[in-house]
Symmetry: C2
């Protein structure tokens, strides 16, 4: 058994991509739920620069930033590879994983945390992100890397699960099957993988958490608006 601990939050998409990668590698680990409103001393010690989750601690050594943690996992435990061998294909997988990194918060906060005209603009940006994934990312492949789940899928997996919850709360649908048929099918392919299916956040719990944040925002905007 590895000495492996993951400091994260079950409400963070960046944490879940690490959970999925560890599980796909067949690794056991201790999960430590961090309260981001009251960060633990250990978290501050492990990640003094960003003070953020997730942090993977392997044999006492901390690795931070989810994209870097994924590369570390891939290199340390080569079983069930998340990256192809060919350097060019590897670059393509990394591109979409980085795209996920760069765009998750735009997509997440944009249409969820803004109102009025700003929200409308954020919806257009969100649709553009999905369009890029549909047209340039997936093509005719089952997963972003081809026939099997890989780094980019794990990086983007948030979309397959979370987005739908946010859409329901806000009452705006971004990922419509008719507009994005391949991406919609990919969300199903992703969730059908048994390791993923067995390791998804509890939908009701997430709905309650996100809804309370959203309602808080509405109250905030009603005071400033």
């Amino acid at each position: 058994m590895e000495d492996l601990k993951l400091h994260g939050s079950i409400f963070s998409p960046f944490t879940w991509r690490v959970i999925w990668a560890l599980k796909l590698k067949g690794l056991n680990f201790e999960f430590i739920q961090e309260d981001m409103t009251n960060k633990s001393d250990l978290l501050l010690k492990y990640n003094p620069v960003y003070k953020k989750i997730p942090v993977l601690v392997h044999g006492g050594k901390p690795i931070v930033e989810s994209s870097i943690i994924l590369e570390y996992i891939e290199e340390t435990w080569p079983q069930n590879p998340l990256l192809p061998v060919d350097p060019y294909e590897k670059a393509v997988a990394r591109f979409w994983s980085k795209f996920a990194d760069d765009k998750i918060l735009t997509l997440y906060y944009g249409f969820f945390m803004k109102v009025g005209e700003e929200q409308e603009k954020a919806v257009q940006e969100g649709l553009e992100i999905l369009r890029n994934l549909e047209e340039h990312g997936l093509g005719d492949k089952k997963f972003f890397g081809g026939e099997t789940i890989g780094l980019a899928d794990v990086g983007l997996g948030w979309i397959a699960y979370w987005l739908n919850v946010l859409e329901e709360i806000v009452g705006i649908k971004l990922l419509e099957e008719s507009k994005f048929p391949r991406l919609f099918e990919w969300t199903n392919n992703f969730k059908e993988i048994s390791i993923i299916k067995e390791n998804l956040p509890d939908r009701d719990e997430m709905m309650a958490f996100l809804k309370s944040r959203y309602d808080g925002l509405r109250v905030f905007f009603s005071h400033v608006g």
Copy 2:
């Protein structure tokens, strides 16, 4: 001779990190200067998602995003390694390279493109970035990866050369030797490497380019201010 082309701009720090990596590997390549106010059809074809430079084209295949290009170069041409072998040390190097990626524009645009109170805030943010590099990044090492130049140094190399030009134009000094002695020494160590010394942008040309941008900004702010 490799079929290797680099689309970039001599005024872009993201381009220079790729130039430095290619040169450190001893590779010959054709450089294609892109006009970012009038993007070429080839650039749009190679990078349809971001439409940005740099793009490395190897045997006709495009690789985009400077951090991903650096990983591709490292994997394809293993001579003069930019990354250590140990996965943990590799993660640390990638952390600082990503830190550079995430912070370059904050540092660059912040104190250069803002005025008044906003500029003062940006200066504080810039100092915080330098402090992180000094205290958590360099420690007592000559380079970010240890005794030899590596991925993080190439990623951060911009600071060793550009920052000083911006400081001169704006008239604000961020990287003072007395405040950041290790980082200051690192800028000298970086520029003393012969491959780097032979491959630096022309200071006068860069000064003229950045100064015209800065003066344009002042005119803009004098109209909106």
